[in-house]
């Protein structure tokens, strides 16, 4: 077992993990933060996307020991301090950017990462950025709309969902 310490959503946490412990398992099983989902466990679906030192990564394809000392952000930390939804979360609600909701934590984290590096993405850029996030319900149009809206852009031109 190895000791790891990191911040998760700004809060210092630590624990004992095995070499094989994935970051997503540390979050879900050790910290009991189950907002980050495991969809496929094979790096395909993106439901487990979190931010490590500000960059979107698949938490099922990174070992917990590699996050030692890092600043991790998860879906649980996305809401504003007063409990209201973040701009991205609110946009997903307003534009019905989810149905079953299983992929949503990863979608929101990827969307937040995209808007940080590209505050006004085009529709094409949004769709390309979401290549590693799979949704089996929505057909993506409303997710793209939500992200366009979260960036303060007109969503009228996006295909009807």
């Amino acid at each position: 077992m190895t000791s790891v310490s990191m911040t998760v959503n700004g809060k210092s946490v630590s624990g004992e993990v095995e070499g094989r412990t994935l970051l997503v398992d540390f979050l879900r099983n050790d910290l009991r933060m189950t907002g980050t989902h495991v969809g496929c466990d094979t790096s395909q679906c993106g439901a487990c996307v979190v931010h490590v030192d500000g960059e979107a990564v698949k938490a099922c394809t990174m070992f917990a020991v590699e996050a030692d000392g890092a600043a991790v952000a998860t879906i649980e930390g996305q809401a504003n301090a007063d409990g209201s939804l973040s701009v991205v979360q609110q946009a997903f609600q307003d534009h019905h950017g989810l149905q079953c909701g299983f992929c949503t934590p990863g979608m929101v984290m990827s969307a937040a990462a995209l808007l940080k590096e590209n505050p006004k993405p085009t529709e094409g850029e949004i769709r390309e950025y979401l290549e590693g996030n799979i949704c089996r319900c929505t057909g993506y149009h409303n997710i793209v709309k939500a992200i366009m809206a979260a960036s303060g852009q007109d969503v009228a031109a996006i295909a009807a969902g």
Binding site: G19, G46, V49, V57, K58, T61, F63
Partner: protein
């Protein structure tokens, strides 16, 4: 996953030392290795993570103008830091996998794995790059040794890759959309002393140079110059995504597109 140890050295020297342990294997970004471990297709006793070694990260320009990329540099960092110096290389890096994969996956990991459909091997072979390890320098033409095989010795670590910058270059990737690897990818680079064409995704022997196209394009750098050439389907990969004849055809199509885009 089965149980194993992970070491996370802070220096290259410590990593090389740790890799001398029995059944130890280097861990780059893990974007291929971790799924491989989950499937138990590899079962090392110890993983030596290279992600904490600062001296192996980043992009710089050598005295000879070559773009030098640290072995533990992520694809995303190459996109950001190499774009001004070698745009075709940064463009290739920007289409590997997806954004989250690019934030973890590294150039050294990709090259050491030498997946027959990976993008980076084509840029390295197509640029005539040099692979620097903790032990020696290996020229690209001697590095790739067939599917998932390289000239690397046990425990040898890719510390840097040096790319001579061409006059013109372009990479064209026909994406296999489920895996986001190249069904066929072609890297074309025009240097003052000739053109190099490297093909990934197509051959059962992994990345290769298409020498007939190199000769034709060195005489005349235009898509018309390869119009009369044919690529044999012998030895090409065949799977449910494409037959060997389909891949052979794509080699020529993608080469033509790369020449047009580079010119």
């Amino acid at each position: 996953m089965y149980a194993f140890e992970i070491e996370r050295p802070g220096t290259l020297a410590d990593a090389v030392n740790a890799l001398k342990g029995e059944d130890a294997q280097a861990l780059g970004g893990g974007q291929t290795l971790i799924p491989t471990l989950k499937a138990r297709l590899a079962m090392p006793a110890t993983l030596v993570s290279l992600s904490g070694i600062g001296e192996m990260k980043g992009v710089c320009i050598g005295d000879d103008g070559a773009v030098c990329i640290g072995g533990a540099t992520t694809h995303a960092a190459v996109v950001r830091e190499a774009a001004a110096h070698y745009p075709a290389l940064a463009d290739l890096a920007s289409h590997i996998g997806d954004p989250a994969v690019r934030n973890r996956g590294t150039i050294g990991g990709s090259l050491a794995n030498n997946d027959p459909s990976a993008c980076y091997p084509s840029a390295v072979l197509g640029s005539g790059a040099t692979i620097i390890t903790n032990a020696r320098d290996i020229v690209a033409d001697e590095f790739f040794d067939g599917m998932f095989a390289t000239a690397l010795d046990e425990g040898e670590v890719i510390t840097e890759v040096r790319f001579p910058v061409p006059e013109k270059a372009n990479y064209q990737k026909f994406v296999q959309p489920a895996s986001r690897f190249a069904l066929v990818g072609v890297f074309v680079a025009k240097y003052s002393d000739g053109v190099r064409v490297a093909v990934t995704g197509a051959s059962e022997d992994g990345v290769f140079r298409w020498s007939e196209a190199e000769e034709a394009l060195s005489r005349d750098f235009s898509a018309d110059a390869i119009g009369g050439l044919e690529v044999s389907a012998d030895g090409m990969i065949a799977d449910l995504h494409g037959s060997s004849a389909y891949r052979a055809h794509l080699v020529k199509v993608m080469t033509g597109r790369a020449v047009v885009a580079a010119a």
